[in-house]
């Protein structure tokens, strides 16, 4: 509840929720070595949403699994909330993952035998949080996403849009501070896909940091920053554009 505000944290000293420093990842060995990532630097602050775009095979998904501590980089450092992951024992790493990181998957991955609230509470329960406390946190997250009234429903009773909301509630529940999303809008039509991005961006404005991997420019455009990957390298990034006012021709008459 005491997360930093959505803005005002642009100062250099604000601690990054996620920081990649010179991260490289190679698979295989010479001569058949594959450089999935090559010297990637990325810093994502609380309240910020960064989209990672690139063609398939550019290293987007590798970047996400490394950021989520599911894989170790070949070289370079990964810091989550200022804590370096290198050399951290597996158990501690798993705990950090459960406590701090939320995932949104392409197909939402809700468990069919559990209600919406049970699904949303699951990460906390797995982390040993007592059930009533976990449920309360899940309900709070669902409330913020407008699906609290669906708490007792099962996934197959929910619409596609409601399922997305529950999946996002599960990703931000409790004290999750880093959201990692891989093509989070799945096969939804463009209006509903935009709605997923709106919800993720709103979650960021409440203080979480998000990295969203997508190949879709319309979805990436919801992010505060877009970085472009190709062949494992960062080849470009957008700067924070001016507000939308600059698009509209001023109404000179009147």
């Amino acid at each position: 509840m005491s997360r930093p505000g959505p803005d005002g944290d642009s100062s250099e000293n604000a601690v990054s929720v996620l920081e990649l420093r010179g991260v490289s990842k190679t698979y295989g060995r010479e001569p058949a070595i594959v450089h999935a990532l090559a010297g990637v630097d990325l810093s994502v602050r609380a309240g910020e949403m960064v989209a990672v775009m690139g063609p398939s095979g550019s290293g987007k998904s590798t970047l996400l699994t490394i950021a989520g501590s599911l894989e170790d980089p070949t070289s370079g450092d990964v810091l989550v909330c200022g804590i370096a992951l290198a050399g951290m024992p597996q158990g501690r790493k798993a705990r950090l993952r459960r406590r701090v990181i939320g995932y949104v998957f392409q197909d939402f991955n809700l468990l069919p035998g559990l209600t919406a609230a049970e699904n949303a509470a699951l990460p906390l329960e797995l982390d040993g949080v007592p059930v009533p406390k976990a449920r309360a946190a899940a309900l709070a997250a669902m409330e913020a996403l407008g699906v609290a009234d669906r708490a007792g429903w099962f996934p197959d009773q929910l619409s596609g849009g409601e399922r997305q909301r529950v999946a996002i509630a599960r990703a931000v529940v409790g004290d999750h501070r880093l959201l990692l999303a891989d093509e989070p809008s799945g096969a939804l039509d463009s209006v509903n896909a935009g709605e997923v991005m709106r919800l993720l961006h709103e979650a960021c404005q409440r203080g979480v940091a998000a990295v969203v991997v997508t190949h879709d420019a319309q979805l990436a455009a919801w992010a505060d920053r877009i970085v472009l990957l190709r062949d494992g390298r960062m080849t470009g990034k957008t700067t924070r554009p001016p507000g939308p006012e600059s698009l509209l021709t001023p109404g000179e008459i009147r």
């Binding site: 319309q218 455009a221 919801w222 877009i226 472009l228 554009p241 939308p244 000179e252």
Partner: protein, 189 residues
């Protein structure tokens, strides 16, 4: 467009301008002179008529005629002319970049891609804010986002094509392409 507004009931010129702007998400400002010129034309063609109050200017109220209603219905269903591609400055630049010696076309394409993404981010901020409660604006913003998205996809495709062309040895320009059937016959051997 003005006929569409008049089809909802008689209106004054100034009112038409305001409603036009509100109805298009205020993306295309209209000056009042344009409104009156268009109304004059509509009246001349018998598509709209004004109250015969003898007054001029803003006091005049316009209404649609039955002929105007027919013309409106026909206009709505007439496809705009999209047959010939517009002369596109970006397409030109990429075509030219491929011919200027020492130009890194990838870098040229990337610069345009980043700029287009930034524009899309701005439109999306609009969608996130004002366009939430303004259906007309939301529709206009969507159309702009789809247009910019299409340009980015074209850049992606152009990049792949240019990379492929650079990797392949150039074919002799004079030799005409063999007919497709011949090529297929040849491949069987």
């Amino acid at each position: 467009m003005l006929l569409a507004l008049l089809s909802q009931g008689p209106k004054y010129g100034l009112q038409l301008r305001e409603e036009f702007e509100a109805g298009t998400g205020e993306v295309w400002p209209l000056n009042v002179g344009q409104v009156y010129r268009t109304l004059g034309r509509l009246e001349r063609d018998g598509l709209a008529e004004s109250d015969d109050t003898g007054q001029e200017g803003p006091q005049k109220r316009f209404r649609i005629t039955p002929r105007g209603e027919q013309a409106l219905a026909a206009w709505l269903r007439t496809p705009p002319d999209l047959t010939s591609p517009p002369r596109d400055e970006l397409v030109m630049k990429v075509l030219v970049a491929a011919r200027v010696p020492g130009t890194d076309t990838r870098e040229v394409i990337q610069a345009h891609r980043v700029y287009l993404l930034e524009l899309m981010q701005q439109w999306t901020r609009l969608k996130e804010g004002e366009a939430r409660d303004d259906l007309s604006l939301a529709l206009v913003v969507d159309s702009e986002l789809f247009r910019l998205d299409a340009v980015i996809r074209w850049l992606d495709a152009a990049e792949v094509r240019l990379a492929r062309a650079a990797a392949e040895p150039p074919r002799p320009a004079s030799a005409p392409d063999p007919a497709p059937q011949l090529r297929r016959l040849g491949a069987r051997r």
